[in-house]
Amino acid sequence: MNRSPSQFKILASENVADQRLRNTFQSATGHALGQRAQSVQLVPEWEDLRERAHRIKEETVEHLDFYLEKLEASVIRRGGRVFWARDASEASNYVVNLCRRLQAPTVVKSKSMAAEEIGLADALESGGVEPVETDLGEFIIQVAGETPSHIIAPALHMTRQQIGKLFHEKFGIPYTDVPAELCAFARQRLRREFLSARLGISGVNFAAADTGTIVIVENEGNARLCTSLPRVHLAIMGLEKVIPRFADLPLFLKLLARSSTGQRQTSYVSMISGPRREQEWDGPEEFHLILLDNGRSDILADPRMRRSLYCIRCGACLNTCPIYQRVGGHSYGSVYSGPIGSVLTPLFQGLEVAKDLPYASSLCGSCSNICPVKIDLHHQLLWLREKLVSRRATPWQERLAMSLFAAGMKDPTLYRMGSALLRLLLKVSGRGNRPFAVPGWSPTRDFPALAETSFKQWWEDNRPGGEG
């Protein structure tokens, strides 16, 4: 299902009207927020941790070239290979070529937003390789032919009944909506794939520059299998996933697990430093790391937008966003949804394609408030709006209205006279101060009546001194 961010308005108004979908998102995000709040409460120094993480990310992003080269050197020292991919096709081609060399008809894949971003699964299929998603949520949406609706929980939009029906139809198993049974089926089916695949693909949550260690957090164990069973392991990461030091890891793990799922720690934390070494018994023979740019250098070049690269993909801003909660992930027409998606998608795919996204926010600020690395997300949206205006990409009616507004507001006499004239006109026309019908507003809400006397007028009539 191909959706584009340019369709946000249409998709969002469809989805917000779908009460079942809204309930699904509101209850799932509400649950996640509750779990998060509970686990954060147990950390009295939470605010200090956020501040520290912000500083470390700032340090990293400000010196990204330095840390990435350090990471590269560390990975190579450990016997791994590093590929710098400028864009999606360079990254995908590298993977497809690797599959050809390995003569791998199938690859097992664990969850990776970077892989989603570049459409790796589609590229593999076009290259004659079958990608098998092994994360349960990803597996479900792959079977359904869907795209992820949440950074952390890709199948968040589906109910267990829908999943039961899907498995029944696609695999011919008896219908069940018991999560444990559905999970057991997927597990059994995937086990075969793990054992036969020659290449395992994973994402990266953190990559420590000093040791060349990549870190993957998960709860299902599928990423551990993807990265240890097949002969070759390939990990793909956005440039911003590097952290300076292995010693920074405890801080980020604490923030990530609690922010995303409300866990103190995820069930599995895999730390991988290169391929199997001579004295070791198991593990892959080759380890490849793709460093994906795909627009990140351009973001880095813009000091105001740079902070969006601090993101650790916890999904908390999605959960807390009143817009995401009501329209769901698919409305955004991109793999990144919610507030971080509204920031990243226009930057990755172009402002013109995604021009509604920066406006898809009431600027309530709860995203910035919850962000574990303190990205000023809603302010980033404001800077994107400014970019749209300066490129004259907003409707001409709006541009005109804003210049009139500014002209009227800049001149107090004009403002005063306009305000008086409007009231006079309303009076003589016999319309009085009955409220106007405001397009967009009035179908669902009453608009207030213009006051008979403005505050300004009241002050004029009642000043100075004494009571009004």
Binding site: K9, A12, S13, V16, A17, R22, P322, I323, R326, V327, P358, Y359, S361, S362, L363, C364, G365, S366, S368, N369, H379, L382, L384, R385, E386, K387, L388, V389, T394, M402, S403, F405, A406, G408, M409, K410, P412, Y415, V438, P439, G440, W441, P443, T444, R445, D446, F447, P448, A449, L450, A451, T453, S454, F455, K456, W458, W459, E460, E467, G468
Partner: protein, 239 residues
């Protein structure tokens, strides 16, 4: 103390009682009140929509109009945060730094001013009704003000304050967001209203007329009797 009133354009045109009651409150606590007549709008509508050039012009005007003010008080968390949080973002000229700093330091949202600057919690108002309080986003998250309005409410004689669920969840207004995305905006207000109605309060109180316009507009359209009430109106009308 001399206070210069900063009355948002929305209050000026649609809800003047909020300003009038603020004058009453401020006089009651013994400060002298002035209203710089040249003021218009802080520029937030333009700024939030991305029209930073227009917003910057209005921000400069604001500094001219309020440059000499000893203290600036406004009955809006949103417009106050425009001055305190966003002016420094758009007014980057070195020449303005000093006057900008002075103005942002001296600008206060009115409940914050009463409680945290003046140290006054009890204005002597009486209001024997059940109310619930909505935390406006800008006041709550940009300015961090949530205790002050509750202190003022709790000290009103006869009042009963019932907290709603998720009192800091956005009401759905968001300026032009409310008309650009009416379906989403209304869905947010719908949920906010459900939380309000659950408290069985007679009034929903907030410190921003814009939130109240959104919530009140939805409630009255749905025919619910619960009334929106600005804290300045609650306090000033019942002194």
């Amino acid at each position: 103390m001399n206070v210069s009133l900063f009355i948002p354009c929305l209050v000026d045109q649609f809800f003047p009682s909020v300003g009038i009651n603020l004058v009453k409150i401020l006089r009651k606590v013994g400060v002298s009140v002035d209203y710089p007549r040249e003021q218009t709008c802080c520029g937030q509508p333009a700024f939030n929509s991305g029209y930073h050039e227009e917003a910057t012009q209005l921000a400069r005007r604001f500094l001219e109009v309020f440059g000499d003010a000893e203290t600036i008080v406004s009955p809006s968390g949103s417009c106050t945060s425009m001055v305190k949080v966003f002016y420094p973002e758009i007014l980057q000229d070195v020449g303005l730094r000093k006057s900008l700093q002075a103005v942002t330091d001296r600008t206060h949202e009115f409940s914050d001013f009463l409680v945290n600057v003046m140290g006054i919690k009890d204005l002597g108002a009486t209001f024997p009704h059940r109310v619930t309080y909505h935390d406006a986003c800008h006041l709550f998250r940009e300015l961090g003000v949530h205790r002050a309005p509750r202190e003022l409410i709790r000290h009103v004689r006869g009042i009963e304050l019932v907290e709603m669920e998720n009192s800091d969840a956005c009401c759905g207004f968001g300026g032009t967001f409310s008309v650009k995305f009416p379906e989403i905006s209304t869905a947010m207000t719908q949920d906010k209203s459900a939380a309000i109605l659950k408290t069985e309060a007679e009034y929903v109180v907030a410190n921003d007329s814009s939130c109240l316009m959104q919530i009140g507009g939805y409630l009255s359209r749905q025919g619910f009797p619960i009334k929106p009430l600005h804290l300045a109106d609650l306090l000033g009308e019942n002194l």
